[in-house]
């Protein structure tokens, strides 16, 4: 191995392989067109190609691979949700994540460091006990923990009883994890492209052609392309794209802001979040503290960072971790979240035949990436809605059967 590395280092033409095949001309027809080249879109393509033998597939990406919300999320993986539908769905995703690097033969830097949600009130303890019971019943490692255990899990957490919201208990989720978000999209895209899928970047879908209630083609800035079926995986722009196919969605887009500090030596192992003070904090393997969870108070299609959020996120983070007061912020950014009325995604069939929805990914999209790829690919290949995503169909809103996911976000709702 050292010789291989030395040879590689001394080589004149660094024999690094390209991850992806370069963009080619668009074909006239694809069996499946995937709108959106983020984690979800590439995961669907990967599963179609590898497990269903469908390789005449194009991923049409307006910008560049994984440059949207795949790049902007804070890379939290967990399954301690509250509804049966939610827990089953996300726990399958966590299982797939645990094996993802092997699946790809490509390192996605998965780290299972656990996740701790803090309770600062009796009401929060009650709801955490409920969540822990539901989680354990469905085989997810999740338990209510007391102050002493919290202090052992996170020694540098402010456990003072004199703080604004003293910590009373916590929900410890040993399956909680993080992974390199970019690598997830790259791994899926590489695996898909190796099997014949075409990734077309800088290719924007401008219109969707529907004949007799069935999608037949899409118009792009690079020309018209016929297709067997279409799936849209464009979190943050779901309403805009669905509107081109004439499909109304129950979504409002809110920016969600986060920030990171400069790197410091490792002092914080688990991911810590507090729904009370609206913040979550974890330290990346590079040493940066990620501070997130600031949802803007009204809808906006803009990823600007605001001073107001910087102030409130900082105040909340300092309440939990006073030692961060000397930390320097490196950057602050926003992603656009598709918020649904019940905090659950919208997946599956749409009113248009052969047009599939993968939308409504509020603040739970990254953690769902692998299972979304598996289930959506199965749906497209077999035309049958997998049981796991049946509760998330768009039609639920017309039947008043929402999946009320109160455990949706660690911080902001």
């Amino acid at each position: 191995m050292p010789f291989g590395l030395l040879k590689y280092g001394l080589s004149n033409n660094y024999p690094a392989k390209h991850h992806f095949t370069p963009a080619k001309e668009l074909k006239k027809h694809y069996d499946v067109i995937i709108i959106g080249g983020g984690g979800h879109g590439t995961a669907i393509a990967y599963n179609l190609a590898k497990y269903h033998g469908i390789t005449n597939v194009a991923i049409l990406e307006k910008s560049y691979l994984g440059g949207g919300n795949t790049a902007r999320n804070t890379a939290v993986i967990r399954s301690n949700y509250l509804t049966e539908a939610g827990v089953k769905f996300y726990s399958e995703s966590v299982k797939l994540y645990n094996n993802l690097s092997n699946e790809f033969n490509y390192n996605v830097m998965m780290e299972s460091r656990g996740q701790l949600t803090l309770a600062h009130s009796d009401a929060a303890i009650r709801s955490f006990r409920w969540r822990a019971e539901v989680n354990q019943h469905l085989g997810v490692r999740s338990e209510l923990v007391d102050r002493q255990t919290i202090a052992e899990l996170v020694p540098n957490l402010n456990m003072s009883e004199d703080s604004r919201f003293p910590i009373m208990a916590g929900l410890w989720h040993a399956d909680g994890a993080t992974a390199r978000h970019d690598a997830v999209a790259w791994g899926y895209a590489k695996g898909a492209c190796d099997r014949g899928v075409e990734l077309h970047q800088l290719t924007e879908v401008e219109d969707v052609e529907i004949t007799n209630g069935r999608v037949t083609a899409v118009k792009t800035n690079r020309g018209r392309v016929e297709c067997g079926s279409v799936v849209q995986a464009v979190a943050g722009a779901s309403s805009i794209v669905a509107k081109k196919a004439g499909i109304p969605l129950p979504i409002h887009c809110y920016p969600l802001q986060a920030m990171v500090t400069q790197p410091y030596k490792p002092v914080l192992t688990p991911h810590v979040s507090s729904p009370q003070v609206h913040v979550y904090v974890h330290q990346t393997s590079r040493g940066e503290f990620v501070i997130g969870g600031g949802s803007d108070p009204y809808p906006l299609y803009n990823t600007r960072a605001t001073l107001g959020q910087r102030e409130s996120l900082s105040a909340a983070a300092l309440e939990l971790f006073p030692f961060l007061s000397q930390a320097r912020l490196l950057r602050q950014w926003a992603g656009t979240t598709d918020m649904t009325p019940d905090y659950s995604p919208i997946m599956g069939l749409s009113p248009v035949e052969n047009y599939y929805l993968d939308a409504g990914w509020g603040t739970w999209g990254f953690k769902a990436t692998p299972i979304c790829g598996v289930t959506m690919a199965e749906l497209i290949a077999t035309k049958k809605v997998p049981d796991l995503i049946k509760p998330f169909e768009l039609e639920r809103f017309y039947r008043f059967e929402q999946v009320n996911e109160a455990g949706a976000t660690a911080a902001s709702h």
């Binding site: 309403s239 805009i240 109304p248 969605l249 129950p250 979504i251 409002h252 887009c253 108070p297 009204y298 809808p299 906006l300 299609y301 803009n302 600007r304 107001g308 009325p341 809103f397 017309y398 039947r399 008043f400």
Partner: protein, 98 residues
């Protein structure tokens, strides 16, 4: 500090206001189906561009409407609800049904 002009109280810090959702015309409750209501309650235009929406000045509980650009976050104008609502909406149910 971002300011919003309340038609009743004038310019105030936007933190004093609560966003109240998109404005869209209500279906007639006497003739509409459950499906119509579901669409009215849950579904949104969620347009990128100038939209009309409800806001409330929290301190005074005053509800009004605003035209706002959801890409640039510029508020074009705010106005009182009586520009749109000229008469009272009658919600009384028919007497025969109990």
């Amino acid at each position: 500090m971002k300011l919003l002009t309340c038609p009743l109280n004038g310019k105030r810090n936007i933190s004093e206001f609560t966003y109240g959702g998109e404005y869209h015309a209500m279906p007639d409750h006497r003739t509409s189906s459950a499906r119509d209501w579901a669409e009215h309650v849950f579904f949104h235009d969620n347009a990128a561009g100038v939209v009309t929406e409800w806001w409330c000045h929290t301190a005074s509980s005053f509800w009004f409407l605003a035209e706002r650009n959801t890409i640039t976050d510029d508020v074009i104008r705010t106005f009182k609800a009586d520009e749109i609502y000229q008469q009272r909406v009658e919600f009384t149910a028919p007497e025969t049904e109990v």
